[in-house]
């Protein structure tokens, strides 16, 4: 006959293990959401131009230019960065 104390300990241990597994399962997703490093869809638009719609007044600019302004360090040091191994796996 298993005592109540042993059952309680078993239940608590199981709960802890399951909680840890769930946290570890979602941990990469939480990290990516908190500190996103994926810049979005790969560039598909070729040579988008700066224009402004008439009535709609929606300016559109070159995505490539925007990215270069945001990541100047990465662009300039791409050559050095490319020699590093991929740490994402």
């Amino acid at each position: 006959m298993i005592s109540g104390e042993v059952l309680d300990t078993f239940a608590a241990s199981t709960l802890t293990v399951v909680t840890m597994v769930i946290v570890l399962f979602f941990l990469p997703a939480i990290i990516e959401l908190k500190k996103p490093k994926d810049a979005g869809p790969r560039i598909l638009i070729d040579n988008p131009v700066k224009i402004t719609f008439g009535l709609a007044k929606i300016p559109i600019v070159d995505i490539e230019e925007t990215q270069e302004q945001v990541f100047p360090f990465a662009i300039k040091n791409a050559g050095y960065l490319s020699t590093l191994p991929n740490m994402e796996f």
Binding site: F25, F26, P28, A29, I31, E32, L33, P36, K37, D38, A39, G40, P41, R42, L44, I45, D46, P48, V49, I51, F53, G54, L55, A56, I58, P59, I60, V61, I63, T66, N86, E88, F89
Partner: protein, 425 residues
Amino acid sequence: MIEWVLEIFFIFLTGFMMAYLVRHYIFTLTVLRGANRKRKPKSETVSFEPTVSIIIPAHNEEKVIGRLLERVTELTYPKDKLQVLVVDDASSDKTGAIADDYESRCSFIEVLHRDKETGGRGKSAACNAGFNRSNGEVILCFDADYYPTRDIVEKLTCEFADPTVGAVQGRVVVLNEPQNIVTRLVALERIGGYRVDQEARENLNLITQYGGTAGGFRSSLLKSLHGWDENILAEDTDLTFSVYLAGYKIRYNLDAECYEEAVDNWKSYRRQRLRWAKGHMQCFFKHSWNVLKSRKLNSIEKIDALLLLCVYFMPIMGFLSLLTGLSLILVGSNFASLLWLFVPICLYSFVGNFAPFFEIGVGTYLDGRARTQWLIPLLIFNFFYNIPICLKAFFDVAASKILGRKNIVWVKTQHSGNGNCYIKN
């Protein structure tokens, strides 16, 4: 007796889900195997320039219609062979005015205004109105929130050089992906669906699906099919099966890419998926028997077609299998202890409904988006969220079938123009 019935039902559900498991594994391996092949885009090897009519149905799309129309003026397809028909479908905002502005500046753009009496009855009705005014040999459709590549028309129309091709579909990519968690998860679903699922069906000559936008039809075929069925909510799926049952094929061109603005909140996600689920189920009731008895489809195509028609029943099936398995355990069935393992395996493998985990993982890998794979575990929430959505869709469709109702309420997806910030300063 009850135990016996539950066991039979459980075997049926497990077998059903195993079929999807095998199907998605085959799709993923097919695309992986073909990924290293370097191929020239078909538009560079095939020269075919028919007259094209682009239909753009728009209902209250003032925040996005201008973006698309400006892009249309930049298309590289010869403008003398292009006709763009904007269907201002009973809009109460500036959609009509914006479209009229472009019509006054571009000779190949026409605007068809529909008032509240003749319009506002959904996308299918708007597309039919545009189709009646069209004069192109090929009919393409773009939703108002879409943003295509400049050469998309050439890439789509070159497929029609093959006379057996009745329709074509391009790849859809989410424009506002970085916006929030909803858009990021929807983008993952799109990657799995277009980069892997559609590509695999194209490579395996199975049932390639017309997605409702960024695609099109041979005008003569569309005329023989009497255009879009205004009683079906998933007009794209309906036309997909109509095309195949008419003896034609649908081609998917991975290189013909188009950005879309994905839903950015869970309420819009639910409304959109509810419409898709209802429409898909309507198509199941409309086409499944025709697929089974069709002489224009081979056995493999029929199997794939039926699996495609049943895809929105899968969340319901998964839920039922969990309930059935639980019931078998409660009644003390020995059978359950052996087959119960299949339930979590199948649940894991097909979860995602539109694109299971491994399809999405491979799709992001092929797109060079390894970091995005970290979000894949979150798709399990999408799966559980889709269960009540598909259940409601099923009850709604079943009730309308039983009561003989044909009133279709088209719940439009609201576009906020948030995608503009990803292509603006």
